[in-house]
Symmetry: C2
Subunit: 246 residues, 2 copies
């Protein structure tokens, strides 16, 4: 059974057995468990490890002096938090757990030894980094231009595609541990308005939510309604366009 990370990187390139073994090795080194709603890295810290999400959901978030908070990224299994982060002197954001999370802490030395011996993996990690940056740009567009309805729809579709890429969907359903507050912090909306808007999505038959599990009954319509364009996820090795049924 393939690791989420392997699945993730194979979207970019075929890996050899040895490549996979190397990834497996760094995933097993120092594994840490983080309780829900706990931060594992804080703004101002000196970064020392790269973190790889093995299980659970997390997020990257930033806070303004008066307490306004923005979730700037959501992490699911197979995501690296910050490749090469140790080049920076201080963290400029926090990394927190949403659910209980298992993460691998990877030291600079371990990282270097992989990149020195496995060029294919190194490339795949670069690719991962470029995709993270692309997602961040799309989020800027999301909060900058889309309406509340579109923003939340877009977030749902993005999560669907990303989860599917690491084998964490069943049909059009997936575990969805975000509270309405979380969704608000990720989309720049208040919880109250998230509530109103999700109600509308439900009414329109674009979303079902039951006991922390989401279903997107009409993905094509949701993609349309949220002006979702999967290009930025760079999920397909050949640069083709994905459609909802692939």
């Amino acid at each position: 059974m393939a690791l989420p990370l392997t699945l993730r990187l194979e979207a970019f390139a075929k890996l050899s057995q040895d490549d996979r073994a190397a990834l497996d090795r760094i995933s097993r080194g120092s594994v840490r468990e983080v309780a829900p709603r706990r931060d594992l890295v804080r703004e101002g810290d000196t970064p020392r490890f790269v973190h790889l999400i093995l299980e659970g959901w997390g997020c990257r978030h930033k806070t303004l002096p008066d307490g306004r908070r923005q979730i700037v990224a959501i992490f699911i299994p197979g995501d690296f938090c910050d490749l090469n982060i140790y080049l920076l002197k201080r963290m400029d954001h926090n990394i927190g757990a949403i659910t209980t999370m298992r993460v691998a802490q990877i030291s600079r030395d371990e990282m270097d030894s992989v990149t020195e011996t496995r060029p294919r993996v190194t490339q795949a990690l670069w690719w991962h980094e470029l995709v993270s940056a692309a997602v961040q740009r799309e989020w800027t567009l999301n909060v900058g231009q889309r309406t509340a309805y579109e923003r939340i729809g877009h977030l749902l579709v993005e999560l669907y595609f990303r989860l599917r890429a690491v084998g964490l969907t069943e049909g059009h359903s997936f575990d969805f541990p975000l509270t309405q507050s979380d969704v608000g912090e990720a989309t720049g909306l208040t919880p109250v308005h998230v509530n109103r808007t999700m109600k509308e999505l439900r009414k329109d038959g674009l979303l079902e939510l039951e006991r922390r599990r989401a279903t997107l009954p009409d993905l094509d319509r949701l993609i349309d309604a949220s002006m979702f364009n999967a290009t930025y996820l760079h999920l397909d090795r050949e640069g083709r366009h994905l459609d909802a049924n692939d």
Copy 2:
């Protein structure tokens, strides 16, 4: 006289004469001039070159099917548009010129030859990439949480610090070629509201604008008003906090 790029990277690490020479070399290879308001890379293109801004201002922008546009990054001299971008199959955004722009087009081979022979430069380029990502996160926070007044203030302060880092400020003044529409597209506001808000900034003595040149007469107050925290720019080699008078 040092190149903006060299100045930029020296914020991260001291470079040797040879390192500087290598940077100089890639800056001189294939230089292209782009007219104002022209795109030099389009969404959907297959990326072939890394671009380095030598002169002028540019931006990265994304468009929704109905025409809403978001500027997701602003480029000034010394900025790379997309290191390693050729790992992706298609561009997911556009790169355009704001003013007349001179850019160096750097091929994958040229890039590889630098990274293979100059580890210090390679690290510095990684650092550049991490900082770009940090800026992108801050922009997400900016449009997600700050008010119009804060957003525009924040943008001004960011540009001030970045321009200063490459020697393009004089006192608290700098060339400012953005139209109010541009500012709107960068901050997720309409031009009308940008106008109102900049008027207020002027009234409050935080901004002066004359013939495409901006002055920030009271930087400390503007930093405060926009809740600007320079950490994310990672400008200081030692991780100290910068203040406005450094």
